[in-house]
Symmetry: C2
Amino acid sequence: MKTRVFVTLKNGVLDPQGKAIHHALEGLGFKGVNDVRAGRLIEIDHEPGLSQTELEDMCRKLLANMVIENFEIEQKG
Amino acid sequence: MKTRVFVTLKNGVLDPQGKAIHHALEGLGFKGVNDVRAGRLIEIDHEPGLSQTELEDMCRKLLANMVIENFEIEQKG
């Protein structure tokens, strides 16, 4: 069973990586981009027994820094 | 308009970051995890005029390294 965890910076937290990507896109001639935010994607392949609570626990304890980041869990089945 | 780009390592490409996360999860006492792969998430806020082709172009030219990575584009509206 596969689960995807998306870790994104909270609103208001500066994102130099996103800024750099935005700048590079403009340098390459792409127009119409207003903002870019960079985050992390973590794909977890696990036994079906692993509960949503355990996954949230993993995020809180290891995968995301709850001070500056949010996480989203997407079960892929 | 927001679009999410998921950049993941191709199958067979070694992923030391994913391995480290997997190992750390086991160290924290989480059981039932078979494998972890780490990737990147890029959120692009753009004008509605930006086409799918342009987004794919961005991925190929800047966001993903097509030799070792795949990308997925998800329009969020």
